[in-house]
Symmetry: C3
Subunit: 139 residues, 3 copies
Amino acid sequence: MTVESHIVRVETQREGEILDITHQVQTIVENGTIKNGVVFLFVPGSTAALTTIEYEPGLLADFPSILERMVPRNGSYEHERRWHDGNGHSHVRASLIGPDISVPFEGKKLMLGTWQQIVFVEFDVRPRDRTVIVHSIGE
Amino acid sequence: MTVESHIVRVETQREGEILDITHQVQTIVENGTIKNGVVFLFVPGSTAALTTIEYEPGLLADFPSILERMVPRNGSYEHERRWHDGNGHSHVRASLIGPDISVPFEGKKLMLGTWQQIVFVEFDVRPRDRTVIVHSIGE
Amino acid sequence: MTVESHIVRVETQREGEILDITHQVQTIVENGTIKNGVVFLFVPGSTAALTTIEYEPGLLADFPSILERMVPRNGSYEHERRWHDGNGHSHVRASLIGPDISVPFEGKKLMLGTWQQIVFVEFDVRPRDRTVIVHSIGE
């Protein structure tokens, strides 16, 4: 049993951007020494999140669109009244989706569905350089 | 320390179906060699999710009902305009709830609350044969 | 590789209360024998949840406020018609946010963002004594 620690870096351009990081995570797992285990991903930050989705253009529009419906950008936020940085809704959306995800792997291959990708979701209102922490645990 | 890998199979009949898989997961943990650790569950697929809930008939109606309110079936989805498979809302709901859950155990017993069950939630619009991947890590 | 098990206790006063448990989790990690790994938190209960948030008074109002918008307290719940305990919305909110979160650490330090705290969210309608289970896995 061992634990291995890596980082995936992503650059985002805009609010609502969804980036497919499956390939980077798969590469980390392939280059590691662990054959069977679980990979744990975490975003250090309070305005971005991780989940899985079928990575196709339709859903890349639909997912942010539903989040805008549930947590409107132009809603009334106490965060905005205190900090005036225009991203109250970004924080709420990030807490709702969550900063972590875990994916099992076997024979160094992520056990995702055929149409399922691991994605980074940018909720902040400006471009960001982001880091995703990737820990693999297994044997 | 060791890692053990198993599978739970479920058959779903309809959209919004919630299946209690606690017993299957508890049985896997009991039959394993690990006494104390964490069990990691993952759905390989982009139209289903895992969470916990008090498994009683009221909430089995309320949870899908709120999801219909938040992510309406008859909403406007780009996914639908491209693929015409009628499940744009299913994908969005699955990404929102998430495909993974982790539950600790001690003395081979899941540390759930008294009224808390591990559930598989089907969001797709047709019956599906589903697999849940179960990894236990501990000693 | 080893697994360590601890508990964090919190007392909540009211529905929608958000408690910062980062310091308690950091102390557990610091006092443990594991240098690098992942800490897994879980709430045994079906009316509370765990997530991360920037812990400042604005968002402590905004997050419950958006949840009230998405899952209204005075909505119509089958759970209420059966059990009359006034917390149908609490259960639905808890299943939506989820009972678990995992956070990586290195050199016994949680790898959180600068403005990111681990929080316990009380959704039940009465004060509760709560337990959060904390498992660390690593080496």
